[in-house]
Symmetry: C2
Subunit: 302 residues, 2 copies
């Protein structure tokens, strides 16, 4: 499968590297890392074992890549207004487009321009950060769950999941993409926001008993909002939160992407991680006072 | 009336200066401002007209002041553990002790050591900041409301209110001190905390529509908690909030005391402004999610 990775942040570089190592033809759209990768290749420092891809198909634009079988979108969601112009040259009638972007509304954004049966979405449980150009650090986890945006894309989704698994990615195809996205938000809404706001990593936040209680309370608001949506089965709130906190305790001093975005002066992904979930919670009549206050404080810095 | 001012921040200096200008014998316990005031007096730059007190009774400790008729406590509440040892030398059986400190629990603190019939409490609606040593800036308002901690102190309270009025202070004696304290918290809880947390003044916060909504929502939580206490009549929430927002709009770029405490590296008055009100809200079964999150974020920086 010819695959294009659009949005070569930590996530795009890491999964693209795994696919190429697994024997797939992978094309990367690169900006910051172009020069480094074209001259020295792409290095992955990973808890699962380091590796180095000497030759990488890097591109400064997508015009010359041609049609591909799979587009993986890893762009920051504040760049969603650019996504279609970037991927249009890559898309034929059989191309699957998989967005691994954060939050809600990304598949809907693609669906403005691309037939729904070609759209897949996914959620990555991945602790990874970019290092200096040409280097990506894989610090923990790596599991990805993908699903069809609409039922018509179900077969395509299974094919992509098989491809990913064959390349050594820990990938699972799910029936309920919406629920999977909300489950991810149970983590993202408290940790991305509180880390970005305070400048403290996940370990520092969890070590403070008041903040730990607030993280649980924020997670409860997200899970309650999720369970008021049309999802296949409810999130078991208490057990799921306990599990999220346990997983996070193992992420020693992890800095979520939004914290790094703020530290490096980039915009924050507020629309997809806060505004759209708040809109859907409100439409379902679920109270979300803590999420609203957290969002307002984050938006103030933008 | 011999009066001692304990805690010569902006509030203590301003009201003490008004009393002395009104002809009362006032003694100030001074720390930072001692040298400046003893050599050059106390200057008040006020929207009601500037004035200068050439000679001021300043003291570095309270031992030599002797018994007074009235002690005004303006200490930061995080210093409450020092309050009794500071005021003990001033107190005779007829001395009234008036705490104008922020938040809840200050009268109760005094009542551990002083008979309840000598304890008064009050709330100052005052925009004032200290300038360089020897100078206090009165930026707006100035009204003070005082009340008896217990009914036995009611007459004493009326006497003090008369004294204050005679000296030109805008002072009112109230029947329900607890309600008055909660009304002040409707302002203090959102503005003190959000200004301290964000480093933005009240005007900057109100100009952001999301934060303005959060301020209203925080005020609603406080008023709801207040109305669940044993107060004489409920706060009319919507009208009161509207009024608070209007008043705050007139406080051009005002920096509340907690914001200045954080900027200058002092502890924050979290116990009296957040912890005790949260405790009483919880005891009354009132949900306070936004206040809890705001408190946790403030406590994280302590």
């Amino acid at each position: 499968m010819r695959t294009a990775i659009i949005g070569a942040g930590a996530l795009g570089l890491y999964y693209g590297a795994l696919l190429q190592r697994g024997g797939e033809e992978v094309h990367f759209l690169l900006r910051r890392d172009y020069d480094a990768i074209m001259s020295d290749g792409l290095r992955v420092f990973s808890i699962d074992g380091d590796f180095h891809l000497q030759r990488v198909n890097g591109h400064r634009e997508t015009d010359n890549i041609g049609t591909v079988d799979l587009v993986v979108v890893g762009l920051k969601t504040f760049d969603n207004n650019k996504v279609y112009s970037l991927i249009a040259p890559l898309i034929g009638p059989e191309t699957a487009v998989l967005t691994l972007q954060n939050g809600l509304g990304n598949e809907e954004y693609l669906a403005r321009s691309i037939p729904a049966e070609q759209i897949l979405g996914g959620v990555a449980f991945l602790c990874a950060n970019r290092g200096v150009p040409g280097i990506v650090h894989h610090l923990g986890q790596g599991r990805v769950r993908i699903g069809a945006f609409r039922p018509e894309a179900t077969d395509r989704c299974r094919d992509v999941a098989k491809l990913f698994s064959a390349a050594g990615l820990n990938c699972e195809s799910v029936d309920d993409l919406l629920k999977t996205r909300w489950e991810k938000l149970v983590w993202n809404i408290p940790f991305n926001g509180l880390c970005a706001l305070t400048g403290l990593d996940v370990t520092a936040l969890l070590s403070d008993p008041h903040i730990r209680d607030e993280i649980s309370a924020l997670m409860t608001e997200v899970a309650t909002a999720a369970n008021a949506q049309k999802i296949s089965s409810p999130i078991e709130t208490a057990r799921f939160i306990e599990q999220m906190l346990t997983v996070t305790e193992s992420m020693s001093h992890y800095r979520p992407s939004m914290m790094i975005d703020r530290m490096e002066g980039r915009p924050l992904e507020l629309e997809s991680i806060y505004v759209e979930p708040l809109r859907r919670a409100q439409a379902a009549g679920v109270a979300t006072p803590r999420i609203e206050l957290l969002h307002a404080l984050l938006a103030l810095g933008e």
